[in-house]
């Protein structure tokens, strides 16, 4: 549904996109993650045709975005990162406009608005002005504008930024449902647990290109997890040489980066360590993100 190959976009000396490749299949939710400035939003703007790439090509449903940007846009549902609502109009007016722009006529638009409002728990506020809603309700209205047209490709740029748990849960459920119905979804976020909830495939962007792409399991496999140990005794034990370089002590807890926890535990026991408590943590998306984008870890 979405194919991007070798996209380059330069602003002066800075390359916002630098050989950006990404393919998303129908029914797939692809989580695009990366630090600020990695190129996520620029990529969304290139797909929507708002920004022209210097080179490379991108197509939506087989339609070249440069050649026929409007044809490509007809297949898109877009929720931009910045809140973009008509604050003096009601939620219904906002959604009806985006339904009409997506090609839905009166009765179909009416049904689509009612449906998406129910999905995103907006039914009670449909006739309230968007400017008077809470932040979470505004976020849901923004996302509803992208979902109302049942587009085959959804571009959701940090749709839950600053959202409350209710908003997040409602939105994730709606996204899952659209994907189950066959829509391809590009979902950019800094909240990695959301991508685990969505069962999304991952694309990690850094410096304007995708540096890792695959399923969460594929990408996390091979990363070290962590052993968290409470040791008995009053004196800290001498750790085996193979473990000392991978360990640190935080709040009296020994933490060992480990790709083979049973073998490391055996080494510790053989070295005479007395274990009081053991917690084995599998590698997470956070670990993957920090491994692939170390500058984020350093900044944190």
């Amino acid at each position: 549904m979405l194919v991007a190959e070798g996209l380059v976009k330069r602003y002066g000396a800075r390359r916002a996109l630098d050989g950006f490749d990404l393919t998303i299949e129908p029914g797939e939710i692809a989580g695009l993650v990366g630090h600020n400035g990695a190129g996520k939003t620029t990529f969304v703007e290139v797909v929507t045709g708002l920004v022209r790439p210097d080179s490379g090509r991108v197509s939506v449903g087989g339609i070249d975005v440069r050649r026929d940007p409007r044809g490509a846009r007809q297949r898109l549902g877009v929720a931009p990162q910045e809140l973009a609502l008509y604050v003096s109009a009601t939620v219904r007016d906002n959604l009806r406009l985006f339904a009409a722009l997506a090609g839905l006529r009166r009765a179909a638009a009416h049904r689509a608005v009612a449906r998406v409002a129910e999905e995103l728990q907006l039914t009670d506020v449909l006739d309230q002005r968007a400017g008077l809603l809470s932040g979470g309700q505004q976020r849901r209205t923004q996302a509803a504008g992208a979902l109302v047209g049942d587009a085959p490709l959804l571009l959701l740029d940090e749709p839950t930024a600053g959202a409350d748990p209710q908003t997040r849960a409602a939105l994730l459920a709606a996204v899952r449902e659209r994907a189950a119905a066959g829509a391809a979804v590009l979902y950019t976020t800094h909240y990695l647990p959301e991508l685990a909830d969505l069962g999304a495939t991952l694309a990690v962007a850094r410096s304007g290109r995708v540096i890792a792409r695959g399923t969460q399991d594929d990408l996390v496999r091979g990363l070290p997890g962590e052993l968290r140990l409470r040791l008995g005794g009053t004196e800290p034990p001498a750790l085996p040489a193979g473990i000392a370089g991978r360990s640190r002590v935080i709040d009296g807890e020994l933490r060992v980066a480990s790709t083979d926890p049973p073998a490391d535990l055996a080494m510790l026991l053989a070295a005479g360590c007395s274990l009081v408590a053991v917690d084995v943590r599998s590698p997470s998306l956070d670990d993957l993100y920090h491994a692939l984008a170390p500058e984020v870890s350093r900044a944190a």
């Binding site: 939003t41 708002l50 898109l76 877009v78 809140l83 406009l97 009409a100 504008g145």
Partner: protein, 273 residues
């Protein structure tokens, strides 16, 4: 040193003639944008009501002054023209506000990311404010005719003058809307600019009664040309109305060009890069 970007070969230019169902879809989208912008204008009716009611009050109160200065017939004509030009320039707030609101609340980019063509968005936004601007002018002239006894020698010429003036106002308002960085800047532009343009053009006070230098610079103001077009239309002067209306269309094109050039650069984070 960054390596040179290899640009792909230029795509062939293809003129796509929309199919009939594409026309219907385009009309439906344009209709939806017109409807939406009408709703936006009516949800905050204060500015519209003020621009429609205030000129009638102004005209009712001040027409005796003009009549005393210029005689009954000429005085009524001058009073109607002064009111129409001054208050239609102040009504630029409706046009500029309609554009600036889209920018401030980031909905402009969202419309651009939709299936609507730029022309559909422009027509959709223009129709409601054009209707408001024309309604204001029709109300003022109608008040002049019905209440003050204004005589109109040629209705078609008057309609031509009003429509071309509305187009110039529309283009000027859009230019202000894309250039202003805030509502206070926009407000200053139409308040101060509107009064200067209408005074400079001889709409409020006849140019004959103004200092000599004003008479020399008056033609740079669109207010001068609309006053000329309206005067010519009221006395049935086709040539005078046509030439002044042509000048107004020139202003419309110039302001429209400024607006289009600024709008091409876009706003938001990309424009700041």
């Amino acid at each position: 040193m960054l390596p040179e970007i290899v640009r792909p070969p230029a795509l062939p230019r293809v003129i796509v003639v929309p199919r009939p169902d594409a026309w219907r879809a385009a009309l439906a989208r344009t209709g939806a944008i017109i409807r939406h912008n009408t709703i936006l204008m009516l949800r905050e009716p204060g500015p519209l009501a003020s621009r429609l009611i205030l000129p009638l009050a102004f005209l009712a109160i001040l027409h005796p002054l003009y009549e005393a200065a210029q005689g009954r017939s000429a005085g009524v004509g001058q009073a109607v023209i002064a009111t129409l030009v001054t208050f239609s320039l102040l009504a630029l707030s409706l046009v500029g506000g309609s554009i600036l609101t889209e920018r401030i609340f980031h909905t402009w980019e969202r419309l651009r990311a939709s299936a609507a063509r730029p022309a559909e968005v422009l027509v959709g936004k223009a129709v409601p404010v054009m209707a408001a601007l024309l309604a204001q002018q029709v109300l003022i002239v109608g008040f002049g005719v019905v209440v003050l006894g204004l005589t109109v020698a040629s209705l078609p010429l008057l309609a031509l003058a009003m429509v071309t003036w509305t187009l110039a106002l529309l283009a000027l308002g859009v230019a202000l809307g894309v250039l202003a960085r805030s509502f206070s800047e926009l407000s200053a532009a139409y308040d101060i600019g509107g009064m200067i343009l209408s005074s400079l053009g001889g709409a409020l006070v006849p140019l004959a009664a103004m200092p000599g230098w004003v008479r020399h610079v008056a033609p740079v103001s669109p207010g001068y040309w609309v006053a000329a077009a309206l005067r010519a239309a009221l006395r049935g002067d086709s040539a005078g109305t046509l030439s002044a209306s042509a000048a107004l269309l020139g202003f419309a094109l110039a302001f429209g060009l400024v607006a289009a050039l600024r709008a091409r650069r876009g706003w938001g984070r990309l424009a700041r890069m």
